[in-house]
Assembly symmetry: none
Homo-oligomer: 410 residues x 2
C-alpha cells in the first residue's frame, strides 16, 4: 500500500503554523511499514483541494487528510471530499448528540454552525474525538482508503493512535513488520557520535542505522523489516561504543526515568530553582504519579528570596545570586527543610543581560544526596530560551546520573 498526507489550511500556506501533523503521521506510518510518498499542504480553497485530491486518488491507496473539519465556512474538507467521491453529506445523529453533550457540559448552547460538524459523507465511518467537536471520518471508496482528521494536533494525535492505526492494521495484514529500536544519548554531538560508529553505519544493510539530532540529544535508530533479533546484536555493538553517553531507549524520557528510579529506590527529591524558574519542577511533575517522589520545591528569583530561604542576611548573598557555593547551600538547605533524600539547586544567568561579574550562559547546579554533594558549572550559548532549555536538560541528566549511582534507601 502507498500512502500520502494532505494538510488543508490557509494558515499553513501563510506560515502561521508548521505542519507537525505530517511529521507525526509519517513517523507512525514509517514505524508500521506504510510508505508515505508525498506530503501536500493546500489552502481552504475548494477547487485547489479538489485538484490535489484527484491526483492523490490516482497514485495512492491510503490518503490521510488533516484539517478543515471545523465549524466555520472556511472548513471545507468534508464538502470537497463528498463532492469528489460523489458521496453526499448526511447528518450523523450519534455525533450530533455527542457535540450537544460537549456543549452542555461546558454549560453553553451549541452554536448553530457546529451542526456542520455532525455531517459526514454517505457510507463513511465516524472516528470519535475525545478532545474536540470535530469527529474524524473513514471512507472506503473503490478500494481507496481516506481518513479525514481534525487539524489541531491535540485532537489529531490521539485519534490517529486510537482509531487510524487499528484501522490500517485491519486493511493490510503485512503492516507492522518493521522493528525498530532507538538508543538515546546525551553529552555528545552528532558528528563526534557518527565518528564513533562510522564503520557500522557504512557497512549497514540489514538492520539499517541512522542518527537523529533531537531536542534531548542525539538518537541512534536501528531498523529492520526482517528479523527482530538482528537488531539486538547491532544494538549492543552501538551501545558499547557510545556507552558513557547512552541514557535511554525508545520512548524513554529523562524525567520519567528519574521518577521511576526514585520510586524503585524509594527516594524523594526536592528542587530549588533560580534561573529556570520552576521549569525543572514542572518537568518532573509532568510525570503521572510523581507526587510520591517529588514533594515540593521553591523558586527563588531574587537575592532577597535566596537570603530568606537560607535564613541569612542579604549581604551574605553574592551579587546577582549566581555562584557555586551559594547553589550548594541552597541544595543543602532544601534537603533539610523539605526532608527529601535528594535536593537539587540551580542558579545562573539566562540573559539577555547578566549581573556584574557573571557571563550570560553561566549556570551552577548542585545536588545533595545522603552521602555526597555534587556541584557543577555549565556554560551554554544561544538565546535566553535556548539557554533555559539546555539548562533544564542538563539538570535532569545530572539528577538522573547521580540517582543511578545511589544505593536503595534504607
Amino acid at each position: 500500500m502507498k500512502g500520502e498526507i494532505i494538510a488543508v489550511g490557509t494558515e499553513l500556506l501563510l506560515g502561521d503554523i508548521v505542519n507537525t501533523n505530517a511529521q507525526f503521521i509519517s513517523q507512525k506510518c514509517a514505524f508500521i511499514g506504510l510508505n508515505i510518498y508525498y506530503h501536500t499542504s493546500v489552502g481552504d480553497n475548494s477547487s485547489r483541494l479538489a485538484t490535489v485530491l484527484h491526483s492523490s486518488l490516482s497514485r495512492s491507496d491510503v490518503i490521510i487528510i488533516t484539517g478543515g473539519l471545523g465549524p466555520t465556512k472556511d472548513d471545507l474538507t468534508k464538502e470537497v471530499v463528498a463532492k469528489v467521491l460523489n458521496k453526499p453529506l448526511k447528518l450523523n445523529w450519534q455525533w450530533y448528540k455527542t457535540i450537544n453533550k460537549i456543549f452542555s457540559k461546558r454549560a453553553t448552547i451549541m452554536p448553530s454552525n457546529n451542526i456542520k460538524q455532525a455531517l459526514i459523507p454517505k457510507g463513511a465511518e465516524i472516528l470519535t474525538n475525545k478532545n474536540g467537536t470535530a469527529c474524524g471520518i473513514y471512507i472506503n471508496s473503490h478500494g481507496k482508503h481516506l481518513f479525514l482528521l481534525p487539524g489541531p494536533p491535540r485532537e489529531m494525535f490521539p485519534m490517529f493512535e486510537d482509531k487510524v492505526l487499528p484501522k490500517l492494521f485491519e486493511l493490510e495484514e503485512n503492516l507492522g513488520r518493521i522493528h525498530s529500536r532507538v538508543i538515546k544519548t546525551y553529552g555528545i554531538g552528532e558528528s563526534a557520535l557518527v565518528e564513533k560508529i562510522d564503520d557500522i553505519i557504512t557497512n549497514q544493510t540489514d538492520p539499517t542505522i541512522c542518527t537523529l539530532a533531537k531536542n534531548d540529544g542525539i538518537h541512534v535508530r536501528i531498523t529492520t523489516n526482517t528479523d527482530q533479533d538482528k537488531i539486538t546484536k547491532t544494538l549492543s555493538t552501538v551501545e558499547m561504543r557510545l556507552k558513557e553517553y547512552v541514557w535511554g531507549y525508545d520512548d524513554d524520557s529523562v524525567n520519567q526515568l528519574i521518577v521511576k528510579t526514585l520510586k524503585d529506590k524509594k527516594l524523594s527529591v526536592s528542587t530549588v530553582e533560580s534561573c529556570t524558574g520552576g521549569a525543572i519542577a514542572s518537568s518532573l511533575t509532568d510525570v503521572p504519579g510523581s507526587a510520591s517522589v517529588y514533594t515540593e520545591g521553591t523558586v527563588l528569583y531574587t537575592e532577597q528570596s535566596k537570603a530568606n530561604f537560607l535564613h541569612c542576611s542579604l549581604t551574605e548573598i553574592p551579587q546577582g545570586g549566581i555562584e557555586e557555593q551559594l547553589t550548594i547551600k541552597l541544595a543543602k538547605r532544601a534537603k533539610e527543610v523539605f526532608s527529601t533524600s535528594i535536593a537539587f539547586a540551580i542558579t545562573g544567568a539566562l540573559g539577555p543581560t547578566a549581573p556584574k561579574g557573571v557571563e550570560v550562559g553561566t549556570i551552577f547546579m548542585a545536588i545533595v544526596l545522603d552521602n555526597k554533594i555534587v556541584s557543577k558549572e555549565f556554560k551554554f550559548y544561544g538565546s535566553r530560551e535556548n539557554i533555559k532549555e539546555k539548562a533544564i536538560l542538563a539538570a535532569l541528566h545530572l539528577i538522573y546520573k547521580n540517582l543511578n549511582e545511589e544505593p536503595l534507601d534504607g
Copy 2:
C-alpha cells in the same frame, strides 16, 4: 504571481524532521504579498520529484525548492531540475573555488563527491551560501522562476533573506505592500467568535479578515495590500464586538503583558503551585527582566507540603489537597510570607487519576490582592498534558485580568 514550495528529502516523509523551511518561506512570502498556494514534500526519488516539478511548472510562477543539494548520491534536486528544464549541468568555477576554500579553512581536503556541489544548470545563477558548501540556484525558464535552496534551516534561512527576497522584489514590483494586524482573544471558542463577526467576515474584501485557533486563544488577523489605514477602522469594529475577550495584539504574549503591567503599576507577584508544578512561575520568569516583579514561589506537590506551608496539621488539609478554600488559604499565606502585592495559588487534578471525590480536570485558582480575594473553579478536559496547558493559560489570564483592575501601588 503564484508561488509554491517543494521540499525534497525522504527524512521528511519518515517524520524524522518537520518542514520548518516551508513555514519560514511562507511567512516571508505572506509578508511581501506573494501568494503561496501549495507545499509539497517528496522523497529523494528522481521520477516522483520530476512528476511534482511538472505539475508545479504547470500552475505556478515561482517555485521554491528546498533540500537535495548535498554532496551524496541521494541528493538529486539539481539533476532532476536540469533534466526537466533541459538545461544540462555545468561546473561553476566560482563556486568550485569557494568550496575548496571552505575545506582548506577546515584544514581538510575536499572529498571528491563535493565537486557535485559546484555543478549548476546551464544559464542558472548562483546564490552564495555563507553557512555551507551547497550554493543556492536561481533559474529563469520561460518566465517560470525556480529557486533551489539547501535543506538545513541554518543555511536556507539566511540565504532566503539575503538572496531570494531581493530577487523576488526584482521580479515583481507590486510585492511588499502587505500590512497586517492581529487581535488576540481568550475565553471564547472559534465558532462563537465567528458568530459575533460573521457579517464582517462575509462582507470582507479589503482588508481581509481571518480567525486562527492558537495555543493562547483565538486570533483575528486583518490584512490589506493597499492602504494601511484601512486596517484601523476594521480593527476597532472587530475589537468592539469582541471587547471582553480581547487581551492583546500582534506579538503580545500574556506572560509578557503581566510582567509589563506589574512593572508599570509597581506591583509584585508570588505563586503557589500544586498541579502545575512550577510551570506558571516558569512562564512568568521566561520574560527577561521579570526578577523585578516576580520574587519567588513554591511548588507544593503533596498534602504534607501544603500543611507545612500553612503551618497547620495534615488533618486540616482536605483529602487530595484540592479544594477552593484551601487554595485561597495558600494564596493568602503566600502574600504574607513572600511579601508581594499579589499572590496566586492553584490546586487541581490533572489526571490520569484523581483523589477520591475530585474529578480529573477540576482546578481551583485563587488570587489575593491588597483589597480583594478572587477565587475560581475550572473544569478542563483532555489528557494530563492538555489539562496542564489549559490550566497554565487560564491562570495567566486570571492574573492578567485582575492585575488590570488593580490601581497603582502606593
